[in-house]
């Protein structure tokens, strides 16, 4: 097996806040190979966006990042300086942000912004760059693509802006795309079309992708690997087949019971819930952060939580089987 394209060990993010330190991301590990898609799924505030910003070197100045390893194809992302990071971000790694307006510059046309990175990093002519921009805009379903190039971001609807962002991310044929909720603001039909496009292009260009979402349906359909995040930790990781087929962590199983499954869940029946709220991560966090909401919590859950599992399917729980046996097997 080749070396992974991206390898992360013990990534930790601390944010100084009024009442102390917010331990937003608490020691996460993962590997990503070329052409692979990793989906990070978890509730709002679990640290998904911070994780992606940390990889790109885009955290705010007050935020502290540390890691034992953050390696992108031989480049150490922990020690890489701003110039090196900028070069990576423009070319080999690209990002699609949750909120497109934060990353589109209102002062420049769509055409300027689409072609900029290509002109800078790939030494192609203006004409070729524009042709590529039009091609990609059409691929993401924007009509009259040619005429869009002279428009400004504020002249586009939210859905169109999001698609421009996606086209922009693909301009340089990156080796890694980090996409933070790229389709959440889009309609279901467009969402399916865009995901299919990202998936197909990923295969075609052997591009790796980190896709951040809270939509379990999206995860199941596009992920090779899944990482379930809760309160700053990866509580379960594995292949999509493993995590959806045999979810080990009580939180993962809880999430899957919350959503109605067409054709499976009886219409109008009571859905599963996860009562309670995510605990504060300010100050020391001991043991399993999910214990306050877990139906299988024990006194031991306050102590160090063992890592369990086999192969790539790993989870953290005091119960050797993640308490699967304690729950009724659904029919």
């Amino acid at each position: 097996m080749d070396k992974p394209l991206l390898s992360v060990r013990n990534l930790t993010i601390d944010i100084p806040v009024g009442g102390g330190t917010l331990h937003a991301v608490r020691g996460i590990d993962f590997d990503l190979n070329r052409g692979e898609t990793l989906c990070i799924v978890g509730e709002s505030g679990s640290g998904k966006s911070l994780t992606s910003l940390a990889l790109m070197g885009l955290l705010g100045k007050n935020i502290r990042r540390s890691a034992d390893r953050m390696d992108f194809d031989g480049t150490d992302l922990i020690t890489a300086g701003p110039r090196k990071m900028r070069a990576l971000r423009g070319g080999r790694i690209s990002m699609i942000f949750q909120e497109p307006m934060t990353s589109l510059n209102p002062a420049y046309t769509i055409g300027d912004q689409l072609t900029e990175a290509l002109l800078l990093h790939r030494k192609v002519g203006r004409e070729a760059a524009r042709a590529r921009a039009v091609e990609l805009l059409e691929k993401v379903g924007i009509t009259a693509a040619e005429s869009r190039l002279s428009q400004y971001p504020h002249q586009l609807s939210g859905g169109l802006r999001q698609r421009v962002m996606i086209a922009m991310a693909l301009m340089c044929e990156p080796e890694l795309i980090i996409a933070d909720e790229p389709t959440t603001a889009l309609d279901v039909t467009i969402q399916a079309q865009i995901l299919r496009l990202l998936y197909d292009l990923g295969r075609e260009m052997n591009m790796a992708m980190i896709l951040i979402t809270h939509d379990l349906g999206v995860v199941a359909r596009v992920a090779d690997k899944v990482a379930v995040m809760y309160a700053g930790e990866l509580v379960e990781t594995g292949s999509a087949q493993e995590v959806f087929g045999a979810p080990a962590h009580p939180y993962t199983r809880g999430l899957l019971r919350c959503i109605p499954l067409p054709g499976k869940t009886e219409r109008g029946s009571e859905l599963g819930t996860i009562p309670g709220i995510v605990p504060s991560l300010i100050g020391d966090v001991e043991g399993c952060a999910f214990r306050t909401r877990c139906p299988h919590a024990l006194p031991e859950c306050r102590a160090e939580i063992p890592r369990r599992g086999a192969g790539e399917h790993l989870f953290r729980c005091v119960h050797p089987d993640g308490a699967v046996s304690a729950e009724d097997v659904p029919a």
Partner: protein, 332 residues
């Protein structure tokens, strides 16, 4: 059919809403038909799911039902009476909204007690002591402890805030609740609590809902009837089984195909649908859906389909019209 009409608590008859919009800075104002000749009836105790792409007119329809927008033409009837003939306050007692965003729809400077009791005060129902009792009661029903009365929205989670919005909508004991994307901004673990709550309240108080959502799995779970909207028109309507088990309109079929169930290994479906949503100011000729329809024929380009009854509801598509050249050719 006529039986159903009689039981309708809320009915739209040929409702059209046209806005005048300017294109560009100096452009002339042109008409945009956000809701196009819509007839719908909401039988008592039912949940009518309303689905369709962004911009197809769902929220405009909701605003018309709430009396927040006046239709350009057509009638809106509540219990058989025209909405215009009823005064706004008495209408607000019977129809209440729950909107998408629990963050912006609650005034951050008001306490939860103030927010939830506002309708009582506006309608002059009871005294201070009654308000206190009523607020406690409704908070209990939506699953919030009474102590939140003195807190502010910023101190609550998204799910708690949406419960406050629901409590505010229910305190006047409305008959009809218009839910416009009530769970879209929430995590699935919170969404399921709110969906369970809406279901419980319906059974307990016989509420009638219009439920707007992008999430078809959620609509399938909660709705008893479903209407599919495309570019201002209802293109298909059926009971929930008729729609999800036997969708007719090609657009409905594409919508259902796009639903990503959490089943690994199935990949991302091919919707067989063009991506370009038409410009509502300049809608396509004939059937508005024809430029994206995989079943499109020449006839669809020229002639708008009529509304056809089906065993479970109705559909607007030439494929199901025995008089259209397409179906005639097939039969021949």
């Amino acid at each position: 059919m006529s039986q159903q009409k009689q039981n309708a608590v809320l009915e739209l008859r040929n409702v059209t809403k046209t806005y005048r919009v300017k294109q560009g800075l100096f452009g002339k104002a042109r008409p945009l038909t956000a809701v196009n000749d819509v007839s719908l009836s909401l039988p008592r105790g039912e949940v009518l799911g309303l689905v369709g792409e962004s911009g197809c007119g769902k929220s405009t329809l909701a605003k018309i039902l709430l009396g927040l927008e006046m239709p350009s033409s057509g009638q809106v009837l509540v219990d058989g009476q025209e909405i215009g003939a009823q005064d706004r306050l008495s209408l607000a007692r019977r129809i209440q909204p729950i909107f998408q965003d629990p963050y912006s729809s609650l005034n951050p400077r008001k306490s939860i007690f103030d927010i939830v009791s506002l309708p009582l005060r506006v309608h002059g129902v009871g005294q201070q002591a009654d308000w206190d009792r009523e607020v406690r009661k409704i908070l209990d029903i939506v699953g919030l402890p009474a102590r939140v009365m003195n807190t502010y929205p910023s101190q609550m989670s998204g799910g708690q805030r949406q419960r406050v919005a629901i409590a505010r909508a229910l305190i006047m004991k409305p008959e009809i609740v218009i839910c416009d994307e009530p769970t879209s901004a929430l995590d699935v673990s919170v969404q399921s609590q709110i969906l369970n709550l809406l279901g419980d309240l319906r059974r307990e108080f016989g509420l009638t809902y219009l439920f707007i959502s992008h999430d078809l799995a959620v609509v399938e779970h909660l709705a008893t009837r479903v209407a599919v909207m495309y570019l201002g028109r209802i293109v298909e309507e059926a009971d929930v089984a008729g729609l999800f088990d036997a969708a007719r309109h090609p657009y409905t079929q594409a919508l259902l195909k796009s639903v990503l169930t959490p089943e690994p290994g199935l990949g991302v479906p091919d919707t067989q649908l063009g991506m370009a949503y038409p410009n509502p100011i300049d809608p396509p000729s004939g059937c508005h859906f024809h430029p994206r329809c995989p079943m499109m024929t020449e006839h669809c380009r020229k002639v708008a389909p009529r509304s056809l009854p089906t065993p479970q509801g109705r559909v607007e598509c030439h494929l199901f019209d025995p008089e259209s050249p397409m179906t005639k050719a097939e039969v021949a």
